[in-house]
């Protein structure tokens, strides 16, 4: 059951340990953090610092070795695969570095895909996607397949797909890493606007300085642990 008074994300002493050739790698160590609804938070750190793994743990794409995770008040760490799928569908939107749109679907179909799974009526889907496409400068490109869109356009479609189903939070893993300066700036503007005007909670894993600058909260990770947690003006 979703509780809107609960924070978007809460983790308690979360660890993720991978075994690699008889050696244990502590990808995430003792992470305890709370991210409230409406936050615009960046998880920053160098490659291998554990930020992507922490996003995957929060998104239920991988399970913690120990510790507990709650998303919108629901404990993720004990859920079955079916429950995790349902949680991802209803509460979490994902934006990936490589856009990851489904190549067989048009921009509109990609964007409305989570709502289709949720069983949202076609009229409501069209209206919501239409509004978001207008906000993100994608109007008129609804019928294009991903292969006919630029990287920046594909990532905007991915952002629309992530926010359209009104999730409790959007997890974005290096969303600007494959974009040029102009495209990433425009994409950031879109996400800031969606956060400000629609109250969408964003959590980024990034090492892009521009994303860090625009984030209101910056959580730095080093060697799998949180090194600092600052709120920026």
């Amino acid at each position: 059951m979703t509780d809107v008074t609960e924070p978007a994300v809460r983790t308690d002493d979360v660890w993720k340990i991978f075994s690699q050739e008889a050696e244990e790698v502590q990808a995430v160590r003792d992470v305890t953090v709370t991210i409230d609804r409406g936050e615009f938070t960046a998880l920053a750190g160098p490659s291998g610092s554990g930020k992507t793994t922490l996003l995957n743990l929060i998104g239920g794409l991988t399970r913690p070795t120990r510790g507990r995770i709650w998303v919108a008040g629901q404990e993720v760490s004990t859920m079955s695969n079916q429950e995790l799928a349902r949680l991802r569908l209803d509460q979490i939107g994902f934006v990936f570095q490589a856009y990851n749109l489904l190549p067989v679907l048009t921009a509109m179909e990609n964007a409305e895909f989570p709502m289709l799974l949720q069983g949202v009526e076609p009229e409501a889907r069209k209206a919501r996607i239409g509004e978001l496409f207008a906000r993100t400068g994608m109007a008129g490109l609804e019928d294009r397949r991903p292969g006919k869109l630029s990287g920046g356009q594909q990532q905007r479609v991915a952002v629309v797909r992530a926010v359209a189903s009104r999730p409790a939070l959007v997890l974005a893993d290096e969303p600007t890493a494959n974009l040029d300066t102009a495209s990433s700036g425009a994409l950031l503007d879109v996400m800031v606007e969606l956060n400000r005007e629609l109250g969408v909670t964003f959590v980024f894993a990034t090492h892009d300085a521009r994303v860090m600058e625009r984030s209101r909260r910056l959580v730095r990770m080093v060697d799998g642990a949180i090194a600092s947690d600052e709120t920026q003006s």
Binding site: T52, T53, N56, G59, L61, T62, N81, Q82, A85, R86, R88, L89, D90, F94, F96, A98, N100, L101, L102, P103, V104, L105, F113, P114, L116, L117, Q118, G119, R161
Partner: protein, 425 residues
């Protein structure tokens, strides 16, 4: 899963369209296999039906009513009672069965001796009603001299060519038939040859003698009694139904062990074994063919899965369960095989009907006729269409598609999402 079924099917269809050339190449193998399968099965069924038809016409029909002892003793004592004969013949006139029945022949069959001035030969004497038997047997169409028996004939005999030669007979010749009568005495009857046949089956041509049933009844003292009632059907597929109806009608004498109802498989086990063996050979060849096609499907679908790891990761990240992700792959395989199967079967039927509807002539390969186990094999094979065969073929192809898609589907369902998202294209 049912909640997302439309999405799953929609994605599967889009994915099939996405790599249209690959889909068409795999589908073409399925279509060719299905065409070949339906053609071969139609031809096989036509062949078997021809064998069965020839066998049952030469023998005792698709369904035979006789005394259980008759098959082993061939003795006149093991004849059917008049009551049993009447019940059986009445049951066969029932409108529910009469549509399936092509001909009924009640026969008095005994072994005996045929003698002429030139010598004597063991023969099978068959007392028949000329009109009923003419509709039953093919011998009346294999007359080489004279004619078949007619209803008004009394002391007439219709004999095989080899018997005629060995007893130095000709049309109009007299011969004496001797056999054990109902009183266990040896009865004798003088008859004249009115017709000579050549069936192509040596054991028939050298030993079978048809005489009127009334003549047999007189000289054997059996009157209207018969040893066998042979039933010829329009389609061998009706055998179980007709046999069951006769068993029900004759329930009392069957229960008392006085009467048995045999289907052609029981009455002619050698022919049944030949049909089963031929079927087995066909199934084996097609089993191997479709295993090869199945591996082709596994290869195609699996390659497609391996190239789409990232997509499956995205689907699971967006809210599909692992099972639903696997279902996308399974549906792809099923849709491809179902459509290919339908197209293949339709083309197979069309080709068979268009090119071979009049029959396939193997005369150049096997000569005019060939025989085995008392069955004449017609060199012209007419394919036989059966709806059940079409259904079987479609189910078979669908199951090949399902089985071939299971492993790729499991692979798609069991991906590790974070790893899949890192997957390099």
């Amino acid at each position: 899963m049912t909640k997302h079924l439309r999405v799953i099917v929609g994605l599967a269809l889009r994915n099939l369209q996405r790599h249209l050339r690959r889909t068409l190449l795999t589908a073409s193998a399925m279509i060719a296999g299905s065409m070949l399968l339906i053609f071969s099965l139609s031809l096989g069924d036509g062949t078997h039906e021809s064998w069965i038809d020839s066998g049952v016409r030469m023998g005792s029909g698709h369904v035979t009513v006789e005394s259980p002892a008759f098959r082993t003793t061939q003795n006149i004592d093991a004849r059917l009672s008049t009551a049993a004969r009447q019940v059986a013949e009445l049951a066969l006139q029932n409108p529910l069965l009469s549509g399936d029945v092509s001909a009924v022949s009640s026969r008095m069959m005994v072994t005996g001796l045929a003698s002429s001035a030139a010598g004597a030969r063991p023969v099978k004497i068959m007392g028949v009603d000329p009109r009923s038997e003419a509709a039953f047997t093919t011998l009346n169409a294999q007359v080489v001299e004279g004619r078949y028996l007619e209803p008004d004939d009394r002391l007439a005999a219709f004999v095989g060519k080899q018997l005629v030669d060995s007893l130095d007979l000709r049309l109009g010749s007299r011969l004496v038939l001797n056999a054990q009568d109902v009183d266990n005495d040896i009865g004798g009857q003088l008859v004249r040859v009115v017709g000579i046949f050549q069936s192509g089956v040596p054991e028939i041509d050298q030993s079978l003698v048809h005489i009127p049933l009334s003549t047999a009844g007189e000289f054997l003292g059996s009157r209207d009694d018969v040893t066998t009632i042979g039933v010829l059907l329009n389609d061998s597929a009706a055998v179980p139904r007709v046999a069951q109806a006769l068993r029900q009608a004759l329930a009392d004498p069957v229960a008392a062990g006085q009467v048995t109802v045999l289907n052609w498989r029981e009455a002619m086990p050698e022919l049944a074994a030949a049909v089963a063996l031929d079927d087995f050979g066909n199934y084996l060849v097609f089993g191997i063919l479709f295993i090869i096609i199945g591996f082709g499907i596994v290869n195609t679908v699996l390659m497609s899965v391996l190239h789409r790891h990232r997509e499956f990761g995205v689907l699971q990240a967006l809210g599909l369960t692992p099972g639903e992700t696997g279902a996308v792959v399974l549906v792809e395989g099923l849709v491809m095989t179902a459509v290919s199967g339908l197209v293949g079967v339709a083309l197979g039927l069309l080709c068979t009907w268009h090119f071979f509807g009049e029959g396939l002539d193997f005369t150049n390969l096997m000569g005019e006729e060939m025989t085995f186990s008392g069955v004449v094999i017609d060199p012209v094979i007419i394919p036989l269409f059966r709806v059940t065969r079409v259904v079987h073929v479609l189910l078979f192809i669908l199951s090949i598609g399902a089985v071939s898609s299971v492993y790729p589907a499991i692979r798609a369902a069991s991906i590790d999402v974070p790893t899949a998202m890192k997957f390099e294209r």
